[in-house]
Symmetry: C2
Subunit: 122 residues, 2 copies
């Protein structure tokens, strides 16, 4: 597959709410995940665990996915803009989070890096 094909598959699965299927089937075993504050998590298992922990204290009401977007100078990357509609259990107040994510794809069509850009608290 090309990076574009990987990216299209990625956004289609996310639009079906299959974010964890993406992580289990499209992430490289040695993926590095970089959160908004710059903290890195290494490895597919720990990265999936991080997402499981993130959703565990909130209700997930849905998401929108814009993209994928590409730039010819970075041919191994694609970019996605997400809005996440969640209700933190601690507050019960429904909020919308926004983020841009940059994904890097290797020659084996696996995602080796994800880097999230946030607008503040997340």
């Amino acid at each position: 597959m090309s990076v574009r094909t990987v990216a299209q598959k990625f956004v289609e699965l996310c639009r079906q709410g299959k974010n964890f299927d993406v992580m289990h089937t499209m992430y490289d075993p040695h993926i590095v995940s970089v959160e908004g504050e710059g903290k890195e998590t290494h490895g597919q298992g720990p990265v999936i665990k991080k997402s499981e922990d993130w959703v565990s204290d909130k209700a997930f009401n849905g998401e929108t996915v814009a993209g994928p977007f590409f730039n010819g100078a970075n041919p191994d990357q694609f970019v996605v803009y997400f809005t996440l509609d969640v209700t933190p259990k601690a507050t019960g107040k429904r909020i919308t989070l926004e983020e841009v994510a940059v994904y890097t794809v290797n020659k084996a069509d696996k995602i080796t890096r994800e880097q999230f850009f946030y607008d503040g608290e997340h």
Copy 2:
């Protein structure tokens, strides 16, 4: 100013439709602009000329600006998601273009690089 302050000023001016004011006042003289296909344009004058050319054959109906977004591993950058509502004069058909842009800011608070990620034709 911090990169966050520069970024907030940037999006506020864009939301007021003052995109060319941004280019004239916030861009470094030696800015590099990287279009979606990877083509680079060097220098504030040529970069502004490129945008003038881009708008010259279309009516610009408005834009939305999401962000700015940040990542602690790239402290000199901010990211914006744009939707551009335009009507190309050649077709007369109103369309919405989407793009993600990554901006790099130097110590003098000037934007030294902009890189656009597109979803296809632009």
